[in-house]
């Protein structure tokens, strides 16, 4: 099928076409490069891509992210003006064999009769940084088809920042009783997310305690002038009984609106694309390659120039 008709079927939310487009983003044969670039350009030309709200949900394993995503999907689909949503669930469970058990879909449990929801699971296939190399292109495909694109990744510590390269705002999810996020925040090794979420709020006192600890940590960071911005929302959710899910969605929407109003959104997306481009170059050419182009700063400037000249798509295609 030619790229333009595939693109128009993607925009029309044809389930099979979206799947085919995503297959193309994962296709590593060099013969797939040109059709992918054509497809993404056609999608970009339609203007559909930029309107979508790209959301990242990340956090350590076992905090209930997939179940929370399931609740978020329902929240996004409910209400007077439901929005459509595509999900990329990135599963780190790949092992040395190259195989992976992709279990997120079981927990998200999308309703097959609802054409406004689409879920694709991806294995990280040994990638560092918690997201598969096809994710940036996949985000563009889903963004052309749906009002909301949600990327779920596993992140412990620094690695979850990668999801920020491909999304507009990120919620970092922790569970009561685990000090992970707190430690990372205190140590300053975790970039501040847009929203902090304490899931499993049904655990009562333990959850309250976790919220209080996070609040205290943020306050001291702000006081020390380390915090990027004051007033990061800290929300308690329970994917089990639905507590706080609507509030979480509202907080993400509000953050996205604020970024758009202030003009930061475009800058953030550009920075993400550039950072991803740098990462892809390093993976492909190694440290020696970086030296040959004059070091990391020079590389970054070169990629910025390329992206600004309309080279976002080539840079993403190169990264696949």
């Amino acid at each position: 099928m030619d790229a333009r008709s595939l693109a128009s079927r993607v925009i029309a939310r044809d389930r099979a076409a979206i799947a085919e487009a995503l297959n193309l983003t994962e296709d590593r044969r060099s013969s797939a490069r040109a059709p992918l670039a054509e497809l993404l350009s056609a999608l970009r030309a339609s203007g559909a891509i930029d309107r979508a709200h790209r959301v990242g949900i990340t956090g350590p394993p076992g905090v209930g992210k997939s179940t929370l995503v399931s609740a978020l999907v329902r929240a996004v689909r409910a209400g007077a003006s439901p929005r459509t949503i595509g999900v990329l669930a990135v599963d780190p469970s790949s092992i040395r064999s190259g195989g992976a058990l992709l279990g997120d879909r079981a927990r998200i449990a999308p309703d097959p009769s609802d054409a406004g929801v689409f879920v694709r699971s991806l294995a990280t296939a040994g990638e560092l940084g918690g997201i598969a190399r096809s994710v940036p292109a996949g985000v563009l495909v889903l963004s052309a088809a749906f009002d909301v694109t949600l990327v779920e990744t596993v992140g412990v510590g620094q690695t979850e920042t990668d999801v920020g390269y491909v999304t507009d705002d990120v919620a970092f999810v922790v569970q009561p009783g685990s000090g992970d996020a707190l430690q990372f925040l205190k140590a300053g090794i975790m970039e501040l997310p847009d929203v902090l979420v304490v899931n499993k709020a049904d655990q009562g006192a333990l959850a309250q305690r976790a919220m209080a600890d996070l609040r205290a940590a943020l306050t001291s960071l702000n006081r020390a002038g380390i915090g990027e911005r004051a007033g990061i929302p800290i929300l308690a959710t329970s994917a089990l009984d639905g507590t706080g899910v609507n509030e979480l969605w509202a907080a993400l929407v509000a953050r996205r609106a604020a970024l758009e109003t202030s003009g930061e959104l475009a800058a953030r997306r550009r920075a993400g694309t550039v950072a991803w481009g740098v990462r892809a170059f390093v993976r492909r050419h190694g440290d020696a390659g970086v030296e040959r182009v004059g070091g990391e700063d020079a590389l970054r400037r070169a990629i910025e120039t390329r992206v600004d000249a309309g080279g976002e798509i080539p840079s993403i295609v190169d990264a696949v």
């Binding site: 389930r15 994962e26 064999s97 195989g99 058990l101």
Partner: protein, 676 residues
């Protein structure tokens, strides 16, 4: 020489056959015939919609009505099921769990109509929900709510039906899911602890008075495999551990109330589809495990049929199993002696070893959050999946001999399975339509107002924390249906998806059939396939319908991961529509379906049609399960690429086959596209 029966001869156990199929009337006729043949109790098999709280007209019930048991949707069905059977004299065992309060309510309502006092009823509701999350899969609600319903049945029965066994703690299904002897002991005991602790809390101040009676009514449903001496030791270990636990943890002083009471269905997991006549011998040996030792003798026995691995057994197959029991009880001298193992140092050492190991595992579960947490976190499930993988691995490597399967496979054609006669029971597909019509007629004939009120009362009881039994019995009388009862409580408690158990099982070595060099070869072929496809080969393992027997699907998913496939596995109870949507959205290269409930002729075509309608008609679909040969032919004609049955026990061979299927289909597609 004259043969004489000693005075001390023990009473024989209750003899049952797990049965029920098609319709209440057909099952009733079967029960009456079985009783006439000398069966001394009834064991009711319900179909999957009844077990999971759906009426026959629910989309998920499609293809499942009357298949693995009898459909009971309302009091009218209960009347027909026990028509002409004096339930006040009968010992009726019901394999029912999530909907146990409801089926017991229907039974009590039936007794009421016949003017029978509940005190005259005796029998068993299985009512062990925890093992449903671990192996059998017919749960509905989240564990905490399910346990509350479990304890409602217990609290009600202890007062109102004193001769009823309100719960059968099932170690049976743990062994079927792959549990070792030690695991079977340990997790049955942690389940019992979980249930007793819940009941104790719910009884509140009445606990001190009522708990000894509750403990006294707790019974077990165990398994026995073909290593029958170890199994016999396991049962002796059960007796001693139970005595200790009930004395120490629950302070039961009356020795009689601490007796380990159990029924048994011997092992089906070890029964083979190859040379199935050999299964008769396995079944007899397994039975010895539960009758030889007087101290640890079963109080009720059910035997599987020789052809279970081929499909649903017929009345004649079940008769053979009953006759087996009767021969052991009445022709042999097993009942003539006091315990014949007392004083044997070999047996004592084995029993002590099992007890020590099992108790260590009990303590470790109790120390790390308790039995419920061990179920919810998937810990126990992962242990079972790993044990089963090891078992299958030993068989595949030939370390564990299974006659006719991995050794001594040469065979003459069997007159039992050849000759063109189907050696299994086939359920007429018309029974589903008939059940739906019957449901409609039932609904038309009842008083809508009383139904509404009964359901409102049920919901209130569920929300208020009152015992749901009285409201359920009133609902049964008002004509409420199984699906309505289930829907009302789903509304209050929500539905649950259990951990699949496959995510946490370690890589490579743990999965079945790990012949190293073989694995390496398959892995590199799967990698090469990924290169040809342009991305990693990805498969969907689907378990459509209501069947919760997930062993096969789990082992395939694990093995596929270990040889390098990306595997999407959504767990049990997914609809054909979900499978189609998942296959499309996930962009898989192959769909594998596992079905053991006999509903493959309905479910598989529905999925093939769905894929075609979604434009993915060329996606290869393979099917595994208990599929009779004739059905395999029909499935292949409908477009299924491969059919795997219990004969295909070599997982590595299946993996190589999946690679070939994907490669063939890919080549065909490429050629077609090339020509176009």
């Amino acid at each position: 020489m004259r043969y004489s029966i000693p005075m001390s001869r023990d009473r024989p156990w209750i003899m049952r056959t797990y049965s029920g199929h098609s319709t209440p009337e057909a099952s009733n006729a079967l029960y009456r015939r079985n009783l006439a043949k000398g069966q001394t109790g009834l064991s009711v098999a319900f179909d999957l919609p009844t077990q999971t709280g759906y009426d026959p007209d629910h989309p998920l019930a499609s293809g499942e009505v009357g298949k693995v048991g009898v459909p009971v949707a309302h009091l009218g069905d209960m009347r027909a099921l026990f028509d002409g059977i004096p339930i006040e004299k009968m010992n009726t065992s019901m394999t029912i769990n999530a909907t146990a309060p409801w089926l017991l309510a229907l039974y009590v309502a039936l007794a009421g109509e016949r003017g029978i006092d509940t005190k005259q009823l005796s029998g068993t509701t299985q009512n062990d929900i925890l093992k449903e999350y671990l192996s059998r899969g017919t749960f509905i609600f989240p564990p905490n709510h399910s346990l509350r319903l479990t304890s409602d049945v217990i609290a009600y029965a202890v007062e109102e039906i004193p001769d009823w066994n309100p719960i059968n703690i099932c170690s049976y299904h743990l062994q079927e899911a792959g549990a070792t002897t030690v695991q079977e002991l340990a997790y049955a005991l942690t389940t019992a602890i979980c249930v007793l602790d819940t009941v104790k809390t719910r009884l509140g101040e009445r606990a001190a008075e009522a708990m000894p009676r509750v403990v006294g009514r707790l019974s077990f449903f165990v398994n026995a495999g073909v290593r029958f001496l170890e199994e016999m030791c396991k049962l002796r270990a059960f007796v001693d551990l139970w005595d200790r636990l009930t004395r120490e943890r629950y302070g039961v002083t009356d020795e009689k109330l601490r007796r380990f009471r159990y029924g048994v269905q011997v092992n089906s997991l070890g029964l083979t589809a190859a040379q199935p006549e050999n299964n008769v011998v396995r079944i007899v040996l397994e039975m010895l495990a539960v009758v030889l030792s007087k101290k640890a003798r079963a109080r009720a026995v059910q035997l599987p049929a020789w052809n279970e691995a081929l499909g649903l057994p017929r009345a004649w197959d079940q008769q053979w199993s009953l006759r087996t029991q009767q021969i052991v009880a009445f022709e042999t001298d097993v009942l003539d002696y006091e315990d014949i193992f007392d004083g044997s140092p070999v047996i004592e050492a084995k029993v002590n070893g099992l007890m020590a190991e099992a108790w260590r595992e009990v303590e470790s579960v109790l120390a790390t959050g308790g039995p419920l947490a061990a179920v919810e976190s998937g810990y126990i499930k992962e242990r079972l999946v790993a044990s089963n993988a090891e078992r299958l691995g030993r068989i595949e490597r030939g370390e564990q001999i299974v006659v006719g399967v991995n050794k001594f496979t040469e065979t003459e054609p069997s007159p039992l399975t050849s000759g063109g006669i189907d050696a299994i029971l086939t359920v007429d597909p018309k029974v589903e339509r008939a059940a739906i019509d019957r449901l409609k007629a039932w609904k038309a004939g009842r008083d809508g107002k009383s139904v509404e009120k009964a359901l409102a009362d049920l919901v209130r009881a569920a929300k208020d924390g009152a015992n749901v039994m009285p409201a359920s019995i009133a609902a049964a009388r008002a004509g409420v249906t199984t699906g309505e009862w289930g829907a009302a409580l789903r509304e209050v408690f929500g539905e649950y998806r259990a951990p699949t158990g496959v995510g946490g099982v370690g890589s490579a070595g743990a999965s079945a059939g790990d012949a190293r060099e073989d694995i390496a070869v398959i892995r590199s072929d799967v990698r090469a396939l990924g290169g040809e496809l342009g991305r990693a080969a990805k498969i969907l393992v689907g378990k459509p319908g209501l069947d919760g027997h997930s062993n096969g699907a789990e082992q395939i998913a694990l093995k596929a991961r270990d040889v390098g496939f990306e595997v999407v596995y959504e767990g049990i109870r997914v609809t054909p529509a979900q499978i189609v949507a998942s296959a499309i959205e996930e962009g898989v290269h192959l769909v594998g379906l596992s079905i053991l409930s006999g509903s493959h002729l309905e479910l598989v075509p529905a999925i093939l049609d769905g894929l075609r309608a979604a434009g993915a008609g060329d996606l290869p679909v393979v099917v595994g399960g208990i599929i009779p040969d004739a059905d395999a032919v029909r499935l292949k004609a409908a477009g299924v690429a491969r059919v795997y049955t219990p004969k295909d026990f070599e997982l590595n061979a299946i993996m190589r086959d999946l690679v070939a299927v994907i490669r063939d289909r890919h080549a065909a597609t490429a050629q077609r596209d090339g020509r176009a």
